[in-house]
């Protein structure tokens, strides 16, 4: 049992790390990762939703009728997303302003719904919690890394601190949408090079 808990946790961090391995939930991945801080903030918000929805879906998996399960998942997910939105407005207002409309969009994030359907609905509460935590942290790391690379190249800063001197001309392309695709593609490529069996 202990072994499988560890396995469910670590799979989200490398083997099935979203969005690189699963290539799901690309909308926030490409949209918010203009800076590292935004990426991590978005990742943590998603992690919270993922853990909460996984716990609830798993706890209710014997009660929820299979035919309306997707509707139930969406209600659960949407509720927690709204909770996150309100909490972020109350406590981390500046981050909320930065992320703007991407917070409500967590509702339609494929990773959250995907984990509810593929994992939480079939496994017990403990495993689902661990799965949510692992996947969420994996997502946070990915978004942070992507945001970091784009921030360094696109604005010449790292986590808000200036890296280069005044002579550095920012590669503004990287903080725009096409830069996100390019950066994600290259990172996927590097990961696949290392992950080849």
């Amino acid at each position: 049992m202990a072994k499988s808990i560890a396995k469910e946790f670590t799979k989200g961090l490398w083997d099935e790390i979203p969005p690189f391995r699963l290539v799901l939930g690309l909308c926030p991945v490409l949209g918010v990762t203009t800076t590292m801080q935004n990426g991590i903030g978005m990742g943590l918000a998603t992690t919270f939703v993922l853990i909460c929805s996984n716990i609830l879906v798993s706890a209710l998996r014997n009660i929820i009728p299979a035919k309306v399960r997707i509707a139930c998942f969406i209600i659960i997910i949407a509720t927690f997303v709204t909770v996150v939105e309100l909490l972020m407005q109350a406590f981390t207002y500046q981050l909320f302003l930065q992320l703007g409309m991407f917070i409500p969009l967590i509702v339609v994030n494929c990773i959250v719904l995907g984990r509810a359907e593929a994992f939480a609905f079939k496994n017990n509460v403990l495993l689902s919690t661990v799965d949510g935590l692992g996947m969420g942290l994996g997502f946070t790391i990915s978004l942070g890394a992507l945001g970091g690379v784009r921030e360094i190249l696109g604005t010449g800063t790292f986590y808000g601190h200036a890296l280069f001197g005044a002579s550095f001309h920012p590669f503004a392309f990287m903080v725009q949408a096409p830069g996100a695709f390019l950066c994600l593609g290259l990172m996927l490529c590097i990961m696949n090079m290392f992950g080849e069996k």
């Binding site: 209710l60 035919k67 309100l86 930065q98 409309m101």
Partner: protein, 197 residues
Amino acid sequence: MKEMIKMVVVLTILSAFSGGLLASVRNGTKEKIENQELTFVKGPAIKTILAGASNDPIKDRFKIKDGDIENIFFVGVFDGKPSTVVFEVSGKGFADAFGLMVGINVETDKITSIGVTTHKETPGLGEKAKSDPSFAAQFQGLSPEKEMKVTNDGGAINAISGATITSRAVCVAATEACGIYKKIKPQIQEKLKEFSK
């Protein structure tokens, strides 16, 4: 039939539970969110527009009813004279409605400055209407008599690159603010007399 009832019951209970949870979170965070908005969103915008004023514009405010809409005017006292009013209008942005603070000098009849408050524009693009001071600076000194337009539409405002819709929306909102100002200018002047010492 039995399955049908179960589906309805489960969905109803789940929705009711979600509603209850959201209502309580909303109530719990309402006051905090309002404070955050005043300090982080409206406060800085008002203070930038009224930089150098000798009073506290957030404290010195009055309300004027125009039809069904009640506008809050923040007063800026310069050289002992309450010469500038700042008020908020809402515009239809790219993603959602946004708030725009417009400061108008009542004595010279000119826009002193504008500032975006709440918005859900795309980070890195439309969001620049708020974060890039050079865009807002273009509105400085314009007369409220003239309609504001971006250069593409034959106006004088240079749009933010990649965010023409947002730039256009800011122009429309600023023009609308000027319309409100022109309509109730006598009332504003009347109220302003209370603030002169």
